[in-house]
């Protein structure tokens, strides 16, 4: 069995009296894709931010690469976690060119240039080194953001609604392109989406979330064919329901 890259135990987070997340347990194996699926406000982005270290949990444990990064009385800052993130708006640094954006997370003195070139060829943007972010299309910006996040070799890559900023007809093509790039890099990925088809296509495993709880965590097939709760069944697709009691 391969190594566990991310583990959450009884993770919870609340704002005031409202619970955004409660009792989340999950494990992500190295090199695998986990899709977090749910309607807006279900807590999936909060979960991502807790793993990245942008917010502090109220209870529970987060482990990244075998090290505990958040637990009662313990909090590791995001810059020490080795967690890469790609935001919905890509968040490219507007004052740096493509190469400097990718080099931003690399330690000085190492072969930064080589690594930047390597990442550029991974995302198939070899001649874009000195372009500025505003000169790029949406899809190109996204690939730079992925290259930048992957460059320092993170334990896990987090993607927040990665395709929602793209046109519908582009989305399908770019989706498989990104999946190819990430698989090629051997990255461990957790990504958040509200699009059922996207989750089933991208994820090795899919976690369906609803009001701060993880309803089911399983393979796409299992989620589709044997939904654990009515919510999962309703959210995944058009299913006919039979009310009844088993005896």
């Amino acid at each position: 069995m391969s190594r566990i890259a991310v583990r959450c135990k009884e993770l919870s987070r609340s704002y005031g009296t409202t619970a955004a997340l409660s009792g989340i347990n999950l494990e992500v194996e190295e090199g695998s894709f986990l899709a977090l699926l749910g309607p807006s406000g279900c807590g999936k982005t909060t979960l991502l931010r807790l793993i990245a270290g942008f917010e502090r949990p109220n209870g529970g444990v987060v482990e990244v690469g075998g090290k505990t990064v958040a637990a009662p009385g313990l909090f590791v800052f995001p810059e020490r976690r080795k967690v890469g993130i790609v935001f919905q708006d890509y968040a490219l640094f507007p004052h740096l060119n493509v190469g400097d954006n990718i080099a931003y997370g690399l330690i000085r003195g190492t072969d930064r240039k080589e690594r930047v070139e390597e990442m550029l060829s991974l995302v198939r943007m070899k001649n874009y080194n000195s372009r500025m972010p505003h000169e790029l299309s949406g899809g190109e910006q996204q690939r730079v953001a992925i290259a930048r996040a992957l460059a320092p070799g993170p334990e896990v890559l987090l993607l927040d609604e990665p395709f929602s900023n793209l046109d519908a007809d582009l989305r399908t093509r770019i989706r498989s392109e990104v999946k190819g790039i990430l698989a090629c890099a051997g990255a461990t990925v957790i990504f958040v989406t509200h699009d059922q088809e996207e989750a089933l296509f991208m994820g090795d495993r899919v976690g369906v979330m609803n009001s701060g709880k993880l309803e089911q965590l399983d393979t796409p097939e299992a989620i589709f064919h044997t939904p654990a709760t009515t919510f999962v069944a309703r959210f995944i697709g058009t299913t006919d329901f039979l009310d009844g009691k088993t005896e």
Binding site: E79, F93, H95
Partner: protein
């Protein structure tokens, strides 16, 4: 005000692109006639000043050389740089602490650090002199307690630097806060996830994004500094405004004053142009979509105490100390039998001229605003621009130009209320045009067309539909004009009728003769009276906000 103008032109651009509200045809005479009159009136004294100075021909160079223009320019630039640097040193930490950290009472700090904006520079100057001058409070206190005789000299550069920084740093602070709130949190979060701590993230990501805001805010502060008359005159630091006044008052050397004015105008216009350029370039980054969420909050931990110490010293120095010193001298003045009736008369004079200005100027602004919004042709644009010229010129220059002009060509109005109001019109017209224009932009011309279709002619429509809808903007403009007229010093000092004293001029002259107890009551009255329209504006804005939701 500058901000508001930017807002208006952006809105204007929008309405034009939508395709309604703008005609390219020539406006009717009811509109262009008054605008033409207003803009000619505004341009006349300024053109006169230029001609007068240029009329000296080659003599002007000798003149500028004789009065050590270079030294004055040097002092002005040094003061400008000093105030800007000092303001940045105060504003940058304040802005960061109040937008990015868990500093206790963040909201409160970010509100009260902007309050010094309402203190006129000569009132701040008076307070600082009253506290720190050789005859001031601190000196007496220290002399009594420790037998200390010498204090650092407050007159000159250090006094001017301190005074102007206190009253103008908030411009920079507001620009920085707005920009920090506008930066999308994902940028800083990405930097953190890529292995950089909060300090490195600030230096490498946040600060570069702030550059346009720093430039814009610094230019506002610079502009304030080179135009300020109150502080530099009280501190006897000879920058352009004070040198112009001295030339005019002591030697009756009108050529010299006009020549210096021209140099100041060039400097002022230069800064305005740079400001317009930086504003035009705008932000590097427009964040697209996404739900707004507050940025990741940085925990200060034990640094909290240092941060709180910093914020409270700023508030102590810029607000609490000045107000207590003012209160102390006011009480001393009253108990020493300073004639309150005098201060009361000054207050009545101030309210009287400011009230007149607040009626006349918004009325003159209406046709200008109408022209700017509804007629975007070349003529309309030119006339509109002409009315802005006044706001590019420092008050002392306009005052001087009007005094010269009226003394030579319009002796009937020389040193009358009329010429005083005329000076205010030139200076403050844009403040009234701005809000009126915003209100007009919010009126859909379809509403007017509906009135026409119901049988009303153009005049009736204007009276029954358009004007009532523009009323809020006119009201806002009137309040702004009232406020700034109350505070205006140089444009009041020079063209006023002999013996006509307002709160502003009486504070100034009492302070320059070191009668602190005499200056305190008018200064206090001035602050109280000018907060009334400010409070009205804030209350009305709140109400409107509630109605909308």
């Amino acid at each position: 005000m500058v901000v508001m103008r930017g807002e208006a032109s952006r809105l204007k651009a929008k309405s034009v692109s939508i395709g309604w509200g703008a005609h390219d045809s020539l406006p009717p005479a009811v509109i262009w006639m008054p605008v033409l009159l207003v803009s000619l009136a505004i341009l006349l004294p300024q053109v006169y000043l230029v001609l007068r100075a240029l009329g000296a021909g080659t003599e002007i160079w000798a003149l500028l050389f004789r009065i050590r223009t270079l030294a004055i320019l040097g002092r002005t630039v040094i003061l400008m740089t000093g105030v800007t640097a000092f303001s940045l040193a105060i504003s940058l930490p304040l802005a960061w602490l109040t937008t990015r950290t868990d500093l206790p009472l963040r909201r409160l700090w970010s509100v009260i650090t902007t309050l010094p904006l309402v203190i006129p520079s000569y009132v701040a100057g008076f307070i600082i002199i009253a506290a720190l001058s050789p005859r001031g409070m601190l000196k007496q206190l220290l002399a009594g307690a420790f037998g200390l005789e010498r204090l650092p000299e407050i007159y000159g550069f250090s006094g001017a630097l301190l005074t102007i920084t206190v009253v103008s740093y908030s411009y920079l602070l507001l620009a920085l806060q707005a920009s920090l709130r506008g930066i999308h949190p994902s940028l800083e979060e990405t930097s953190r996830s890529l292995g950089h701590g909060s300090w490195a993230t600030f230096l490498r990501i946040t600060l570069p994004q702030l550059r346009p805001a720093i430039a814009a805010g610094a230019l506002l502060v610079s502009l304030y500094t080179i135009r300020d008359f109150g502080a530099v005159s009280l501190m006897r630091y000879e920058t352009f405004t004070w040198a112009i006044y001295l030339q005019y008052r002591t030697s009756f050397d009108r050529m010299g004053a006009a020549a210096l004015s021209l140099v100041l105008v060039v400097l002022s216009v230069f800064i305005l142009l740079v400001e317009a350029r930086t504003r035009g370039r705008g932000r590097y980054h427009r964040s697209t979509g996404g739900v707004f969420r507050p940025p990741m909050q940085i925990r200060l931990g034990r640094w909290r105490w240092l941060a709180l110490g910093f914020c409270s010293s700023v508030v102590l120095i810029t607000l609490i100390m000045p107000m207590s010193i003012l209160g102390y001298w006011a009480i001393r003045g009253i108990s020493a039998g300073e004639p309150l009736i005098l201060a009361w008369n000054y207050a009545l004079n101030s309210v009287y001229v400011s009230g007149l200005a607040a009626i006349i100027i918004p009325l003159a602004a209406l046709p200008v605003a109408f022209l700017a919004v509804r007629y975007s042709g070349l003529v309309g644009r030119l006339l509109d621009r002409a009315t802005y010229l006044g706001s590019a010129l420092p008050g002392i220059v306009i005052a001087l130009a009007l005094v010269f002009f009226s003394a030579n060509y319009a002796t009937a109005i020389y040193q009358t209320l009329a010429i005083l109001l005329f000076a205010y019109l030139i200076l403050f017209l844009p403040q009234a045009v701005g809000p009126a224009r915003l209100s007009l932009l919010q009126i859909n011309p379809r509403i007017e067309e509906a009135a026409h279709s119901l049988g009303r002619n153009a005049r009736q429509t204007l009276l029954t539909v358009t004007l009532p809808l523009v009323r809020p903007g006119v009201f806002t403009g009137a309040a702004m004009v009232f406020l700034t007229t109350m505070k205006e010093l140089p444009a009041t000092l020079l063209p006023s009728p002999i013996g006509f004293r307002t709160l502003a001029t009486s504070v100034w002259s009492a302070t320059s003769e070191a009668f602190f107890a005499r200056a305190a009551v008018p200064a206090l009255l001035l602050i109280i009276l000018s907060s009334i329209p400010m409070a009205l504006l804030v209350i009305r804005e709140r109400q409107e906000g509630r109605e909308r939701t």
